[in-house]
Point group: C2
Chain length 800, copies 2
C-alpha cells in the first residue's frame, strides 16, 4: 500500500520524464533536418516543400537561431490556434472528432473532480476509523482519502450514492450533448461536402452466377430491372490478389537492383557481386546488377501474362461489384433496401471511400464470412483469457539454462554476474513484452481475416478487440490478482452477485497502482508520442541508407494516420478508470484530468503537423466511443454496488439498483436517436443535395465523374504505362526518363491512394474508354442525358 | 416417485377423459342446433346458411339420423381431406403455417423417439446399479429407464452425448427445411396474391409539426419532395378514441332499448319500468323504453358534435399517416429507408393490413413508446418472478376466518363440516386459478400498453410474454421446487456453472410429473378444445336471451381466431420438454408424440370448421417459433451438461461444449438467411409484381383502389348514414327500414372488419369524394395517368 509520499515521488519522476521528453522534442523539432519528421503533414498539404531555405550549410541541418530555443514551448499555443473548422479542412472530420473525445473527457471530469474532491475527501477523511490520526495524514495511507475509510453501515454512504447519481446524470448529459453535436457535425460535413463518389455508389456482394450470362450482364440486368430510373453502371472487380503479390515482388527486386546500381555508381571501381543461395550466404557467385536486371525482366513477363489472364478469364471476376447510380437518392435507396428474394444474395451496402477500400478482402467468398467471424470471435476470447498460457510456455524455455543449451558458446558471457542478473530479470519478461508489442498487429490481422472490406471498419474492429483485452487484462487483471484465465475460472464458479463484490472490494486498494499507471502509460506515453522517437530514428536511417529519389523521401516521411486501434481503447480505459474511481478514490481524478488536458494538446499538435489520415470515415467510430463510455458507467455502478454491499450498507445499496436501468435506457434512447445517422443516409438529405446539384450544375456528366473511381489501384498502372512518362528525380538532382518497363510501380503508391476522389484525372483521356468495366464493343448504353432530367420526367395530369 | 403403473393408471384416466370429450363432441356436433358452434367458419365462408333444412320441427334441433351416430369419428378423415393449398385459400396462410408447427413436432420427434427408445432404454436399464432387479421392472421406479440409472463415471454416457449430437443435428436439419419451406410459402403467397392495399402503403409515425402548415400539407410536401415518382396520397388519422367510446356507449344504450322493446312486444300488457339509481336498484321509477329512447337521442347529439369537432379541429389529427404509393416498389423503398435527418422523425414502416390495425394505439405519442416499453418489460419481469407475492397475500385473506368476518351471516353454512372442508381446499387455490385464467388477458393488455399498432404484433408480443412465464413458472418452477422468486434469489447467489447442475440433477426426477402434465394439459386440453364447451354454452345462452336479429346471431356465433398468445407458448413448451427429456428420460417422448398427432388433427378440424382469422400476418410468427425451438435446444444441451457433470462424467462432458456454439451459429445463419423475408419486402419481388400488373391491367386506377382503405372503421358510418339504408332482419323475419339515426352502428361491426380489402365498395360512389383525406376544394392532384407509365418515362439515349 503506497503512501501519499510514494505517489508524490512517482509523480515527480514521471513529470520529470515527461518534461525531458518535451524538452527534447522542443529542441529536435526546430532543427531543419528533423522538419520532415515533425511536420510531415505540412509537406503533404503543400505548405512546405523543403526546409533548406538557408544558404549556410550548417543551418541546413542545425537551427542556429538562439531565440527559437527560448520559446521552446510555443508549440502549445500554436496547436491551440487552429479552430475546429480549420482542423476539419486541414485533417478531416475523423481527426477533429477524435480530438473531441479528449475535450469530452475534460468536460466530464472537471466538474466531477471538483465536486468529488470538495465533498468526498472531507467525508472520507473525517468519518474514518482513523480520524484521530489526521495530523499524520501526509505520510499515512492513501486509503484514508478513499471510501475504505468510511465505517461500515455508516449513513455517510448516501454521499457516495448521491454523487454516483449526480456523476451518472452529468456524464449522460455530456454524452448526449456530444453525440448530438458529433451527429450534426457528421450531417453538416456530408451536406457541405463537395460531391463524393461514395455517395453515388453501393457495393453489392454475393452476386449470383446465372448460367450462360457473364457476371457483368447479370449485374446490369438486375439493376436495370429493379432500379430503372437510377442505375448508371457498375464496376466489376477482379481477383488481383495474385497480381498484387507479383507486383510487390517486382518492387522488391527493383529495390535491390536500385541498391546495387547506387552502390556501383558510388564505387565504380568494384562491380557488386552476390551469391545465389539462401540469403546470399553461399552458392554460385553472380554479378548482382545483371542478376536482378534479369529477374526483373522475368517477373515483368509473368506480370504481363497474369494481367492478360485476369482480364480475359471470367473466373477472375469476383461476385462483387461497385454499382453507381445517377443520384444520391438512388444510391441511398439501393443501399438501405433488400434487393433479392433470397436475402443472402445481392447484398447491398454503402461503398466505402475508394481510398478506404481494403481490396484484398473483396475476394473472400461471402458464405465463408460467418464462419470466419465465428472462428475469430472464439480466437479473440481465447486470446483475451488464455494468452498467458503460450507466453508462460515460452518464458519457461527462454531462461538462462535454455539459452546455454542452445548456444553453449555464449556460456562464458552469460556466466558473468552482471550480465546474468540482467538477463535473469530481462528474459522472462521479454516474451510478454514482445507479445504486447505485436498484439495490435495480431488483432488487426484477425480483423482482416474477419473479412471487412474497409480500412475504417478494420480499425474499429481491431480497436474493439484491443478494448476487450485491456478491460480484462489491464483493468480486471490488475484488480483481481491472477491471470485472466484464473479469473474466468473463479467467475464461472462464483455467483453473479458475488462477482461485483469480489472486484468491488479490491478496487480502493488498487488506486495507487492505477495512479502510477496513469502517470507512466498516460503522461510519459503521451510525451513520448510527441517526441516520435521511433519515426525520427527510422526516418534518419532511411534517409541515410535507402532514400534515392524525392518520392522515396516522401515515402520515408509518410507519418501514417492516428493509430485508432491503439489510442481509442486506451482512451476508453481512462474513462473507465475515472468513472470507477470518481466516488471510490477521488484523489485519482486529478491525474486523469492532467492526462486528458496534456493528451489533448499533444494530439492537437500531432494532427495539425504530423498525421495524415488515410481515409475519412466521417466520425464513424463515435457510436463505439459513446457505448463504451456507457459501459464504463455501468461497470462503475455495478462495482460500487458490490463495494457497498460488502460495507454492510444494506439500507443504501438498493438505491443504486435503479441507476443501471436508467443508464441502459439512456443508451437505448441515444442509439435510436443518433445511431441511424452513422449507419444510413436519410433520403431527405440525399434528395436535397441532388436537387441542389442539378440546379447549380445542370451540365454535370455524372457518369464521367464516377467512371473508374472504384478501379483497383493496381490496374491504374495498366492504363498509364502506355501513356505516362514517369519523371524520376534521384538524389543527384538529375532528371532522366525511366523506361516504362522498369518503372517501379508500387502496388498502391501513396500518390494514388491519397488522391482526392474529386475530378479524376483519367476523365481527361476520353480517348481511352475505361477498358475493364464495360465490354468496349458495346456502345456506352446508359449515358445520362442532362437535357431531360430523369427524376422529373414523371408529370401528373393536373399541376398542383 | 411414481411407478410405471401409476403412469399407466394416469394415462388410462386421461385417455378415458379425452375419449369422453371426443364422444360428447361427436354427438353434439351432429345436432343441427349446435351447427353454428361447431361449423361457424362454414357459415362465414358462405358454405352453409342455415341448418334448418328439415321440415320436421324436432329435426331442426336434434339429429334423428341414426347412421350419423355410428360414424361419429368421421371428423378425423374429414379434417385430413383438405390439402394445404385448400387450407390456405380457406383459412389463410397463418392457419396453414400454424398447423405446420404440429407436423414439425411430429417430424422431429418421431425418429427421435424411435432411436431414443431403441438405444437408450436398453443402455439405461442394463447399465443400472439395479440391474439384477430387472424382473421387477414393471412395478419399479420409472427412473430405471432414465439416465439416473447409469453408474457415475460410466463410459456409457457417450451414448447419451452421441444421441444429443444426433438429435440436435436432426432438429436443426428439420428446422432449416421448415424455415426454408415457410419462407417460400410466404413469398409465394405474396407473389400469387391479388393486389393488396398494404403492399402500396406505408405507415409514417412521428410526423413533425411545421408551424403555419397543416399536418396534411406537411406530409404531402415531404413525400412529394422525397419520393416524387412514387408518392400518391396519404390518409390522415384522427384521434377517434373518444368518439369510439361514445359509439360504444350508444350501442350499450341501444341494446337496452332493444331489450325493453322486445320485452314489451312479448308482454304487451306490462310496460317495462326501471329505477334511475345505481344498477336500477333504487331511485325514481321511470318508463324504461322512454328513458332509453331519450338517452340514445341525447348521445346521438353528442356524437354529431364530437364528429364535427374531430373533423374541424386540427388538434385531433394525429402525427401519424398512412402514405400510399403508386407502386409496390415505391412503398418498399419508403418502408425500408430512413427518411429524415433526425432519425426519430418520419419513421416509416410497412402498414399492417387494414383489418389488422389496432387503431387505438395510433394515438400514442411516439416519444412515450420507449418509456412504455421499459415500464412493461420491468412489469413482465416482476410478473414472471414475483407473481406469487400478491397471490399469497390474497390467499391469506381469502380463508374461512376472513370470509366469516366479512359475511357473518354465512357462518352457519360455513360451519357445516362438508362445506368447510370443501372451502378450505378450494379457497386458497381460487386466487391462483383466477390469476392463471386472466393472465393471457393481462399480458395482452400489457402488450397493448406497449403501443404496437397491429393486432398481429400484439398477439406475438403477448405470446412472448406468456412463453417467459411458462418457461420460468411451469418448466423451471416444476423442476426446482420453490417459487420463481426463490429461484431467482438462489440463481443470483449461485455460480453460473452451478445453475445447470442444480437444474440438471432434478430433471430426471421430474419426468413423471411432466408425463402427467402432458396428459392433463395436452391430451385432455386438446380434447376439450374440440368440444368447445364454453362457446357452446355461451352461444346457446346468447341465442336464448339476447339474439334479436340475424346479425346478432352472427355476432354470437363469431368464433374468433386461433388463440395464438396461448397456444404458441404451450406448443413451444412441449418442444422444450421433448428436447430436454429426449436423452434423459426417453419414455416421455411417446406422450409428446401422441400430443402432437392428436393436436394436429384437432386443430386441423378447428381451422377448417371453426376459427375465422381476423387478420393475415403471412406467417409472421414463424421466426419466433424457430428461435424458441433453438432456445429449447440450447436449454437441453446446457442441462445435459449440468446433469453429466454431476455424474462425474468429466471425460465426456467437454464433448458437449461445442454443441451450443454450433447451435447458436446455426441460428445466426438461419436468421440471416430467412428472417429478412419476414421483415422486408425485396425490391426484386415488388418490381416483378408491378411490371406484371402494369402489363395485365394497364387501365388500373390505383388511386381509386387505395382510396379509403385505411379509413378508421368508425368513420365509415359517416359516409353511409347519408346514403345507405340499413336492412335489419329480426327474429320474426319481418323487414323494416330502420331510421338512420337510431341505427346501432357498432364501433367495428364485423362485416366491415372482415371485409376483404380488394375492390372496396366505396369506390362505387365516385360522387362522394373521400372527404376526410384531402381538402375537397383542391382538385385531385396526383391522379395516376396510365397512358404515360411513370417508371419508364426515363429513356436512355441509346437503346440497349
Amino acid at each position: 500500500m503506497a503512501t501519499l509520499e510514494d505517489i508524490g515521488v512517482s509523480a515527480l519522476i514521471n513529470i520529470i520524464t515527461a518534461f525531458a521528453f518535451l524538452l527534447a522534442f522542443a529542441i529536435l523539432r526546430i532543427q531543419p533536418f528533423n522538419d520532415r519528421v515533425y511536420f510531415p503533414k505540412r509537406y503533404i498539404s503543400g505548405e512546405r516543400t523543403s526546409p533548406r531555405h538557408s544558404r549556410n550549410f550548417v543551418a541546413k541541418f542545425v537551427n542556429l537561431n538562439i531565440t527559437t530555443y527560448l520559446t521552446f514551448l510555443n508549440w502549445m499555443p500554436q496547436a491551440m490556434r487552429m479552430s475546429e473548422t480549420e482542423i476539419i479542412n486541414h485533417a478531416g472530420l475523423d481527426s477533429a472528432v477524435f480530438l473531441r473525445i479528449y475535450t469530452l473527457g475534460l468536460k466530464i471530469f472537471l466538474p466531477v473532480t471538483v465536486l468529488a474532491l470538495l465533498i468526498l475527501i472531507p467525508v472520507n477523511v473525517s468519518s474514518g476509523t482513523l480520524f484521530f490520526l489526521r495530523r499524520e495524514l501526509v505520510v499515512s495511507d492513501i486509503d484514508k482519502l478513499s471510501i475504505s475509510n468510511v465505517r461500515p453501515e455508516s449513513i455517510r454512504f448516501f454521499y457516495h450514492i448521491g454523487l454516483e447519481y449526480l456523476f451518472t446524470i452529468w456524464t449522460c448529459y455530456m454524452l448526449y450533448k456530444e453525440y448530438d453535436y458529433v451527429t450534426s457535425m457528421r450531417l453538416h460535413f456530408l451536406a457541405s461536402q463537395r460531391r463524393r463518389v461514395e455517395q453515388f455508389t453501393v457495393v453489392v456482394r454475393n452476386v449470383p452466377h446465372v448460367p450462360g450470362h457473364s457476371l457483368a450482364d447479370t449485374v446490369d440486368h438486375f439493376f436495370q430491372t429493379n432500379h430503372p430510373n437510377d442505375y448508371l453502371f457498375h464496376q466489376a472487380l477482379y481477383n488481383a490478389n495474385k497480381y498484387a503479390r507479383l507486383v510487390r515482388r517486382r518492387e522488391r527486386l527493383q529495390n535491390w537492383l536500385d541498391y546495387y546500381q547506387l552502390k556501383f555508381e558510388r564505387h565504380p571501381e568494384k562491380r557488386p557481386t552476390g551469391k545465389m543461395g539462401f540469403l546470399g550466404l553461399w552458392g554460385k557467385s553472380i554479378d548482382s546488377i545483371e542478376y536482378y536486371k534479369q529477374q526483373v525482366k522475368q517477373i515483368e513477363k509473368i506480370l504481363t501474362l497474369e494481367r492478360q489472364k485476369i482480364i480475359k478469364e471470367p473466373k477472375s471476376i469476383l461476385p462483387v461489384a461497385f454499382v453507381s447510380f445517377n443520384s444520391r437518392w438512388g444510391a441511398a435507396v439501393c443501399a438501405q433496401t433488400q434487393q433479392s428474394k433470397n436475402p443472402t444474395l445481392w447484398l447491398t451496402n454503402w461503398a466505402p471511400e475508394p481510398r478506404d477500400v481494403y481490396w484484398r478482402n473483396l475476394a473472400i467468398p461471402f458464405f465463408s464470412l460467418s464462419i470466419r467471424k465465428l472462428i475469430i470471435s472464439l480466437s479473440v476470447f481465447a486470446l483475451v483469457f488464455f494468452y498467458m498460457i503460450p507466453i508462460a510456455f515460452v518464458q519457461s524455455l527462454a531462461n538462462l539454462e535454455g539459452l546455454e543449451r542452445v548456444a553453449p558458446f555464449l556460456r562464458p558471457v552469460i556466466e558473468l554476474k552482471f550480465i546474468k542478473s540482467f538477463l535473469q530479470g530481462f528474459l522472462p519478461g521479454l516474451a510478454l513484452k514482445i507479445f504486447l508489442y505485436i498484439l495490435p498487429t495480431v488483432l488487426m490481422i484477425m480483423s482482416k481475416i474477419e473479412g471487412h472490406i474497409a480500412f475504417s471498419t478494420l480499425e474499429r474492429r481491431a480497436a474493439a478487440k484491443y478494448y476487450y483485452f485491456m478491460l480484462v487484462n489491464v483493468f480486471l487483471g490488475s484488480i483481481v490478482t491472477g491471470t485472466a484465465f484464473e479469473q474466468l475460472h473463479s467467475f464461472l464458479h462464483q455467483s453473479p452477485s458475488q462477482i461485483p463484490r469480489t472486484i468491488g472490494v479490491s478496487i480502493p486498494m488498487k488506486a495507487t497502482f492505477f495512479i502510477t499507471y496513469i502517470m507512466v502509460d498516460g503522461w510519459a506515453g503521451i510525451a513520448s508520442e510527441i517526441l516520435r522517437l521511433k519515426p525520427l530514428v527510422i526516418f534518419h536511417l532511411k534517409n541515410m541508407f535507402l532514400v534515392k529519389t524525392e518520392r522515396d523521401r516522401e515515402k520515408a516521411m509518410n507519418p501514417g494516420s492516428v493509430d485508432f486501434p491503439e489510442t481509442l481503447p486506451s482512451l476508453q480505459l481512462y474513462f473507465l478508470l475515472g468513472l470507477v474511481y470518481a466516488v471510490v478514490t477521488p484523489i485519482l481524478l486529478p491525474f486523469i484530468l492532467v492526462f486528458f488536458a496534456f493528451a489533448y494538446l499533444v494530439y492537437r499538435h500531432q494532427i495539425i503537423n504530423v498525421y495524415n489520415q488515410q481515409y475519412e470515415s466521417i466520425a464513424a467510430f463515435w457510436p463505439h466511443v459513446h457505448s463504451r463510455i456507457i459501459a464504463s458507467l455501468l461497470i462503475s455502478q455495478l462495482l460500487l454496488m458490490g463495494l457497498l454491499s460488502t460495507k454492510k450498507a444494506a439500507n443504501s445499496t438498493p438505491f443504486l439498483v435503479v441507476l443501471p436501468i436508467l443508464t441502459l435506457s439512456f443508451h437505448k434512447y441515444c442509439k435510436n436517436r443518433f445511431e441511424p445517422a452513422f449507419r444510413k443516409y436519410p433520403l431527405e438529405e440525399a434528395m436535397a443535395k441532388d436537387i441542389l446539384e442539378r440546379s447549380t450544375e445542370p451540365d454535370l456528366n455524372i457518369k464521367a465523374y464516377l467512371a473508374d473511381a472504384y478501379l483497383h489501384p493496381i490496374f491504374r498502372s495498366f492504363e498509364e504505362e502506355e501513356e505516362l512518362v514517369e519523371v524520376r528525380v534521384d538524389k543527384h538532382q538529375t532528371r532522366r526518363v525511366s523506361p516504362p518497363v522498369s518503372e517501379p510501380s508500387s502496388p498502391s503508391p501513396p500518390h494514388y491512394v491519397y488522391h482526392p476522389p474529386s475530378p479524376p484525372h483519367y476523365v481527361a483521356h476520353p480517348s481511352s474508354p475505361p477498358q475493364y468495366v464495360y465490354q468496349p464493343s458495346s456502345p456506352p448504353q446508359y449515358i445520362y442525358h442532362p437535357s431531360s432530367p430523369p427524376r422529373y420526367a414523371y408529370h401528373y395530369e393536373v399541376e398542383p
